[in-house]
Amino acid sequence: MKVIAFIICSALAALFLIATGDLPDWGSAESPANSYLSPYYLTNALNDTKTPNVVTAVLADYRGLDTMLETTVVLIAGFAVLLLMGSRIGEPKTVVKREMDILKVLAGGDQIGLIVRITSQLLIPFIVVFALYVLTHGHYSPGGGFQAGVILGAVFILYSFSNGVQSARLAFSQRLQVICAIVGILVYSGVGLTCTLLGGTFLDYSALAAITNLDSAYSRSLAILLVECGVTLTVMAVMFLIFSSLVGQHSPLNNKN
């Protein structure tokens, strides 16, 4: 098996090395990838959308449909994990309390975990504020909906590691996770549908100028913020949904007896 794999990989390496000869040099500004569409984005994004961060402008505006469907893929991945690991949406909370909590054991139980608990309690508010900064300042600095969503998801994961995944689930139940994930997608597609109702095409944010009393560039900037909020909700909920499902009741880690 190892010999066959080595032969396949060597053949692939030879093919790729031959093909590499035709690829553009490192850092070349005239390469095909850098010469047709991207100069348009760089020169026009500020005028079109009033968003200096071109990555955010391309992500949420020029390629808005792509981002909406990528967020839907994240949602579907979350649902798939939910179906595989067993949903606990309808269960009463007393059942949740009885199960063994692998993370609490790893953190050292109630006594040893004290320092971890206090430290994470001190840290969590600042992490949340930073996540909101990353979300709302995504127009002007590196950041945006996906990054903020991942940071907020990490907040809940940090809380699960310090206080046990069950206390985290009491704060952010599975029902709430699913609702948050769906509401995020609905916010995104709702902004797109509003554009359609106001006479533009789907996700053409300049049509929103009719109800925002702003010119079309500023209403595009505002709509970018709205759809980024939707992306944040979905990504945050799905990150914690995947994590809490993987360490939860149906996990083999908790059924070792």
Binding site: T20, A33, M85, I242, F243
Partner: protein, 126 residues
Amino acid sequence: MDILISKYNYCVALILFLMGCYGIIVKTNLFKKVIALSIVQASIMLFYISIAVKTNGGIPIVSKDLSTPIDPALYANPLPHVLMLTAIVVGVGTVGMGLAIIQRIYAEFGSVDGPEVISAMEQSEL
């Protein structure tokens, strides 16, 4: 030899990609297969991001000073950054789903080793 010097970014991505491919083929442990898939994914991201680089180019956040026209050569290509930004988050989702499938396989057949799982499946069918 010329390729290795002027286009070393592609070579690094290539090495990572082949490491991942080798792992996917050779390793029988399902967790290691998922790790190898992640390595392949990382190599693709590295490839895209290295395409976006321009010599003398900074991050793609344009200056708000409108007195001078914007010169695209001074900013990195934003498009590969956008594509990989979404790909990273989708990658986390797919890795999570892979781990969930492995956990279900372990709960059902008591093993995460590929051939052992297959023989356990054949026994349960008999």
